[in-house]
Symmetry: D2
């Protein structure tokens, strides 16, 4: 197992959903950087449970305690360890999951991988809760990047079949980054999405979606070819967020349907700056940034924990039996995953830029 | 830059399109393994240029010379260095690309990244030619995996708008892996694809597509959570292939449109083996294999080098001017990218299994 | 900075001497391993401050809190995070060290490296206190190795000019591993060493020494050539302990004075086991274990913090001025470094063997 | 196995003594650097066999062929692959070594490690010949460092019991770096050393020694604490050279015999530069450079291949039997190891500085 990520900036995420705590060690963050605690708290709040009418009823203060690496809220160059205590755990909900692994959760493969020793409570180390630790690291990185003039923002591109207006990949700016707990560019689409989520919840079901993320202010020339490019590292980071099933850059899978003459982004120069007329390439070519907005999308599957009864194997009996998942689960994880995608992007860009 | 990939099995790819040679060092491959040269040659031939009527007219024997690591064609545990000489180079074609970077190629970002020192001839280190080195490594890994009962195969899932029959993600077996230079499950679709390519070529244009790859025989429990899972490493490897713009696992982006009750794959047991009724998860959950076929797809953009005239910046004049790309380019890179995707998959799985 | 070490088993150490806490994340430790807390506590006690008449008067309970990775004291496969709170800190002692960096401490180079943002209190991240975190990781690894029949033990080979009887590098067994807080093979030498330390302490001075470490039960064939051999990884780990100035394997620097015919260790076979008559090579050749006891030594410099007045630069005045170091410091760090060397060795061997 | 070393600058060494070739891939070297081929050739010549009356009679041109990464001898940012063909191999010399592994060579542990598949000819991948590949990488790094005002030089500090004058660790400058094939500061000591070697050779024996290496011009503040410091990385690199048995920094093992008041290096400032009066710390404290000359020593064991008859196990018979090693071997490897130590140092410093 390796829950460590990064080259120069290394983050090491630890914890299980129902352990004492979750957290992260951030090794390699520049010294002398003043952390804005309020901004970090605001960023974390976007991911925190209990914000939406439709979200999990598990409430966690998600108070971040920095137990090393800061001196009067300024980084001192030593590894930063941030700890978030787990306070609101109801472990009795999960006992039977040893027998009846939840469909489309990691329960079963983890059981094989760890020989039954894994912590199944609340999904253990595989829980979406671990993304709070990613958001601590990402939150600091976002602040660092902001000082370099780089902003990162994501929005809900789709939930179920309902689509938001996509970013204008040529003109997107930091002003388009809405933040908040349900960022959509088109409010009507947002309303429709909320209706889709509410309908799923009412049915004891869940629904998936797509997150679109952009980074602006990134200069050209950042990245590396082949295996250490922006696409490689960003996808490796973003797939670290549970429920992500696909990652695409620029027009992504749509490019597969186009001709080169349609897909190619031609260059022009204005005021000494080289830009492209279109941005189908999403700001990255050959692993290296072009100076155009970096744009990628992540597909998020519907929360596999649903209230509805499912028919699935009971390993004790060897029979397919009904399963009703208790515990508290979001009918749609997409809104809370938005800051996680921003965080993953921030960690990767920071790693290149420090 | 890092053209090195892997944890226990590390591959280090080197070379430029018009350098003396390209090649790969494979560090960590098990000792005592007899390499099947004929099988490797056959695998390499699937990627080699000059096979299709519509492919680049650059002919390369792509003869692989092993200059270390083998003793009478058996691995000796020392790093394996394989070299492929570049013989058929026509470097004069590329001079003007310093002035007029090709749209949707790495020419411009590489120029910023390397301060003008990069080798532009034929795309240099960014050339698709480098995937021959990946295929050497992947070819050896495929042979190793075969001994462990694991087979990997990919097919052309789509070219332009024409789609092949997808793999049956539950029932796919090694018998579905066709190999060859234009693997499609549906021959009529294959004919239509070839027509699409030919039409693009006739227009001096190019066209993209999708490659679907599956691995069968992979036991459950392979992988790691968070940043070192199958999805993380596979996507990082596959994005190392030029022209890949998106990677998705299982039903991927489609999952975003589904409800949990539709997307979840329930378990059952038969003859002591645990399987899922459906395989929307593509054989991987939480980074770890489930024992179901591993299935993922990669989006390939249309070849950016097209014969058609394009209007793009001339950096010397600062003006947008016509560009006609000379050199020899495939109107559709998808068929030749199929074994590359298999190779990337093989390298990743081998890294876990050795 | 990287306070992360390891390949498959990765430890990430965090904390500063006077931060809230120090600790370690251990990523990759096998699942299903029952941790013996009492044994770990006993191991930690050997390194803990306040054990010797002559040791620092800083008392720390060094209570290890596992906030993740354990379930009822059994490893669950998720990263293990262990935290040790700093309780007995007297930070006012260190204010002036910004002006007058302590000779032969990291104060000055750290100041240049971190631009003055480093935590100077108690040496910050450079403090010997951080070795408590290494000992947590090492303590777990020792338990794991014990299950595989591998034992690691070190003794004080020398303090000042007084030498202990060295290990018999051919016959050493686990029975020679004394543990405790002042392990010597020759008690008379131990008495003389204590006298040397007491004399240094009485003079407001300090004294260095040598630690000899052995691992027995390690099978032949463990390790790798060139840069990933036992010597490379062990030296890299052991130099992670502050105050280590040299590392040698087998007869080490003495080999430089010998002829090949004197230095070579010839093989023989007894009861089907291949051994060497002598063990000048310290159980490792070409990075790989031979099955003979692994033996190496580490040179430990005298504690640079001495009570005696020193003449050294005051950066504020630009003048050489007297410096009297306050704070609580060991006149000889060697005894407490013994378990740290064992820990470093255990972490490295575990990384190969898991 | 991993014959890959480095963080940002990664070198991947391949080859066996009697393979087609040996070589190195250098990944991450800055683009736009003009390689001085003549200087590289001169550097390589210092390590090349056949230079000394007493050295191995194997003659190798050691012609370096760059097959990638250079464009008109200027680095282009792509990985640099350098190949050295093995031309003068006499493989029949090594057949019996399967049966009778050479004392104090890697033959036996490699046999266990690789299950008998290893290439034993000439020591295979464990041969000192592989250091030629290290010297290619080191030679380029030395040129790069020279442009930054950093010079690295080593001399023969001892052979057998004969000692050269050590570097003045406070005053050493690039003028003290003699280069050549037998660098000693004291010519009389050099004569005595040559006599020691000749005596060993005449007896069919070999002799070890010590190499002292210094780097000057290295600014303060380079390095990292704990596991990524100069000591960690330098020792890991230097132990990559076959026959190295110990590494010490500054006064190293001697520090173990001193008191703090004797060992501490006090600071002073002159012309705005902070220096230390003495340099027992060898220019590095806590993993970070102090701006004083970096000084370390490596112990080199006597060549284990000696002409003299040895009594050692024949694995076929299970008996101890006489062994007479044929092949061509240096009675003292120390002189040829001098540039290798410089190369290892250069690779490490470059990795920090690029």
């Amino acid at each position: 197992m390796s829950s460590i990520f990064g080259r120069k900036l290394k983050i090491s995420i630890f914890g299980q959903s129902h352990a004492e705590a979750i957290g992260v060690v951030i090794d390699g963050f520049p010294a002398g950087f003043a952390v804005d605690r309020a901004a970090l708290r605001a960023f974390m709040a976007r991911r925190a449970p209990g914000q939406h009418a439709f979200a999990t009823s598990r409430k966690e203060a998600d108070e971040v305690e920095f137990i090393s690496g800061l001196l009067d809220d300024v980084t001192c160059g030593a590894p930063i360890c941030a700890v978030i205590r787990n306070t609101n755990t109801r472990s009795e909900d999960y006992r039977e999951l040893f027998d009846q692994p939840r469909p489309s959760h990691a329960d079963y493969p983890a059981d094989v991988r760890y020989g039954g020793a894994q912590d199944v409570r609340g999904g253990g180390h595989f829980s979406g809760r671990l993304t709070a630790a990613l958001c601590v690291a990402g939150g600091l990185c976002l602040q660092y990047l902001a000082q370099k003039g780089i902003a990162i923002g994501a929005h809900i591109a789709a939930i179920g079949g309902v689509k938001d207006t996509p970013f204008d990949t040529v003109k997107v700016t930091a002003a388009d980054f809405l933040g908040g707990t349900f960022p959509v560019l088109n409010e009507a689409a947002g309303d429709a999405m909320r209706a889709v989520i509410e309908a799923a919840r009412a049915d004891g079901d869940s629904v998936g979606g797509i997150i679109e993320c952009a980074a602006v202010g990134l200069p050209a020339g950042i990245g590396d070819p082949m295996f250490d490019g922006l696409e490689n590292r960003l996808s490796a980071a973003v797939f670290g967020i549970p429920a992500v099933r696909g990652v695409e850059f620029g027009n992504g899978f749509e490019a597969a349907t186009l001709r080169g003459s349609e897909n190619n982004d031609c260059y022009y120069e204005k005021d000494g700056v080289i830009r492209t007329c279109t941005n189908n390439h999403g700001g990255v070519l050959g692993g290296i940034s072009t100076g155009m907005p970096l744009v990628f999308r992540a597909a998020i599957k519907p929360t596999p924990s649903i209230a509805k009864e499912q028919q699935t194997l009971n390993r004790r009996t060897g029979q397919v039996e009904p399963l009703v998942i208790r515990g508290r689960h979001d009918p749609c994880i997409v809104p809370r995953a938005v800051p996680c995608v921003e965080a993953a992007c921030a960690v990767v860009l920071c790693d290149y830029l420090i």
